[in-house]
């Protein structure tokens, strides 16, 4: 099946500084893709090139077969949601959402109906006459989402839409976004630096590092089979195992240890507990194994108490779970 969103050899340089170093990917219609990476890795630049706000130094961008690389932003028929909501302050919620429709020439009656539909979709029915300054951040962002999808764009772009919101809202809103996206089937590109965010809602993740793509894959694959050391340490916790016992560049995820032997475990490590963090459902132990810090995650068990600081513990692990890190 031909890809819906295709990016070929995309390069962006600002003077002598190359921010995006030749990037390729292809995604199918209806996929929810995250561009994940630390600040400065180029993810926002790529999004802005797709939107049309930055001109690529070289390379091509195709949406549904059309080459949009040279099109102006207002010709691309995309929807975009910004980190700072960017709702037009002089317009009501209804006018904001209906703006794209108005520009497209839709009549007032039709517009009203569609705005109502959108408001119901984002869970804010009856908000037509409100102004942005009267609403909370979460509400504004939802309106921004409605505004972006009202004209039925073929691609939805989200530029760190949750970064400006409170933690709790962030979690509930990202799930809402995902639910709406699934309902409508819009291909979506989501930029974030929060790996938990990316992992929880994406179909596939593009992990970026200093202008290059380190890995593209489903969340499970990225987590369990990281392609590079960068991906392994950026996504989730990583324990570097002592070289003497395991060889160089070996690591393992914290939840793959256990304090008691399991059928598949074949190796042990022992050390002293240096810290116990009770995070609710998870108990995170920091263990000193001959100078190497290892952190392990175990589930909270009602019956058994977790080890105390200073206790000596034996950690069981399976060799097959050990990751060999690439570059």
């Amino acid at each position: 099946m031909a890809a819906f969103l295709e990016v070929q050899n995309l390069v962006k340089s600002f003077g002598t500084n190359t921010v995006v170093k030749g990037v390729n990917f292809a995604f199918d219609k209806g996929e929810f893709i995250s561009l994940l990476g630390p600040s400065g890795c180029g993810k926002t630049t790529i999004l802005r090139m797709i939107a049309g706000f930055e001109r690529p130094t070289s390379g091509a961008i195709r949406v549904d077969g059309d080459d949009i690389t040279t099109l102006k932003p207002n010709e691309r028929k995309l929807g975009m949601v910004f980190q700072a909501y960017a709702l037009f302050p002089n317009m009501t919620v209804g006018d904001n959402i209906g703006f794209g429709l108005k520009i497209a020439g839709m009549g007032p009656e039709e517009r009203r109906a569609r705005v109502e539909e959108m408001l119901k979709l984002i869970g804010l029915p009856g908000f037509e006459k409100r102004y942005p300054y009267e609403m909370s951040g979460g509400q504004q962002q939802r309106v921004a989402l409605a505004r972006a999808i009202a004209p039925k764009p073929r691609l939805l772009l989200l530029d760190e839409p949750l970064s400006a919101l409170d933690a709790k809202i962030r979690v509930s809103l990202r799930e809402e976004i995902r639910a709406i996206q699934r309902d409508l089937g819009i291909t979506t590109v989501f930029v974030t630096h929060d790996q938990e965010e990316a992992m929880s809602i994406s179909d596939r993740i593009v992990v970026m590092n200093a202008g290059n793509i380190d890995q593209i894959g489903a969340p499970r694959d990225i987590y369990n089979r990281p392609a590079t050391r960068f991906v392994a340490s950026f996504v989730g916790h990583l324990n570097t195992l002592p070289e003497t016992a395991f060889g160089p560049n070996r690591a393992i995820r914290p939840e793959l240890f256990s304090l008691t032997p399991r059928p598949d475990t074949d190796t042990t490590l022992s050390g002293t507990v240096s810290d116990v963090g009770f995070l609710g459902s998870v108990v995170r132990l920091r263990i000193d194994v001959n100078g190497t810090p290892i952190s392990i995650d175990t589930f909270n068990g009602n019956a058994t108490a977790p080890p105390q600081r200073g206790d000596t513990v034996t950690l069981h692990l399976a060799s097959k779970d050990v990751l060999t890190l690439g570059a």
């Binding site: 939107a51 049309g52 706000f53 102006k72 932003p73 207002n74 010709e75 691309r76 028929k77 995309l78 929807g79 975009m80 910004f82 700072a84 960017a86 037009f88 302050p89 002089n90 317009m91 703006f99 794209g100 520009i103 497209a104 102004y131 300054y133 921004a144 505004r147 972006a148 004209p151 772009l157």
Partner: protein
């Protein structure tokens, strides 16, 4: 009086956009200032009141009292009794026409100053001109908005007077005599208005620049993703948002021109009968032969400039609301 203005460095801190922009922003907008818990031990020196004392004294002695005294004088006749006759005395041809000319000049210079200032500021900030230009222009605006009185009058005489540089250049290069063929006269209503623009335009630029800065880049981008052209952005979003600030600054410019005297005195002297010149002559030499009338004249001026400023405040507060 003309308003001095800050230049507009790109830093926020120095209260650049002349107080008007900033003052209004603080107006009625409760700052989250910490209120210190009063300490249990009694302080020997009442720092608080002591600190504010000079300010209050100043305000009373040099703002409130003089103004009140003028109001009082306006309603007092020579014998010291309360009267309306001074106010009534304002309604003579000479004085009414003075007010009317002042209003017209202030209106014309405010309107033109606002439009031209807006155009130039838009050009600098959003016209994709080189970055350094803005800083230089804003500093120049700070200087130009202060450049009034005799130096300004003389500069325009040297430029557009009968023997002015521009007049001569236009005559020799383009064979166009602005005086004979164009009917222009520097020492007239339009001459003065043109001269006033020299400090009105910069004042507009300094005041409106922050408002234009406030047009977030994201709004433009969001509008574009929704299919809007540049013109559509300005029509539905840009201008509607700027409009209150422009209107408010118009009032500011009006009040500024209305109270100006030095430039008019230097340029048109007593030929153009504007209110400030009338008042100046009254103060100088009792031109009206009636101190009470002079006070009434002053009170009339205060009312007009106050009205303009109230309009400014109200409109600015409205614009504030959106931008929160």
């Amino acid at each position: 009086m003309h308003r001095a203005s800050f230049p507009h460095p790109s830093h926020e801190w120095s209260g650049t956009s002349p107080l008007m922009g900033e003052a209004r922003r603080g107006w009625g907008n409760p700052h989250s200032v910490r209120i210190m818990a009063s300490s249990p031990t009694p302080r020997r020196i009442p720092w608080d009141s002591l600190a504010v004392f000079p300010f209050v004294i100043f305000a009373v002695m040099f703002l409130f009292l003089p103004t009140l005294s003028l109001f009082g004088a306006a309603f007092t006749d020579r014998a010291g009794n309360f009267t309306f006759e001074n106010i009534a005395g304002l309604f003579t041809d000479q004085i009414m026409s003075a007010y009317w000319i002042s209003i017209r000049i202030s209106g014309a210079s405010a309107l033109l100053g606002a439009l031209i200032g807006l155009a130039i500021t838009l050009a600098i900030i959003r016209g994709k001109l080189p970055q350094g230009l803005r800083s230089a222009v804003m500093t120049f605006s700070g200087v130009a908005s202060n450049f009034a009185g005799v130096p300004l009058a003389f500069a325009f005489i040297a430029t557009l007077g009968r023997l002015g540089l521009a007049t001569i250049v236009l005559r020799t290069l383009f064979d166009f005599d602005i005086y004979r063929q164009g009917g222009f006269n520097l020492f007239s209503f339009w001459g003065l208005t043109l001269t006033y623009l020299y400090f009105q335009i910069p004042l507009m630029m300094l005041t409106i620049a922050p408002a234009i800065d406030g047009l977030k880049k994201e709004w433009n981008e969001a509008a574009q993703t929704l299919g809007a052209s540049t013109w559509q952005f300005w029509r539905y979003i840009g201008f509607p948002i700027l409009w209150p600030s422009v209107l408010g600054t118009l009032s500011l410019l009006f009040a500024n021109a209305f109270g100006a005297i030095a430039t008019a005195w230097a340029l048109t002297g007593s030929n153009l009968n504007i209110v400030t010149v009338l008042l100046y002559n009254q103060i100088r030499g009792d031109a009206l032969q009636n101190p009470g009338l002079g006070a009434a004249l002053a009170v009339g001026m205060i009312l007009i400039t106050s009205l303009a400023n109230v309009i400014y405040l109200v409109v600015a507060a409205r614009a504030e609301r959106w931008m929160k």
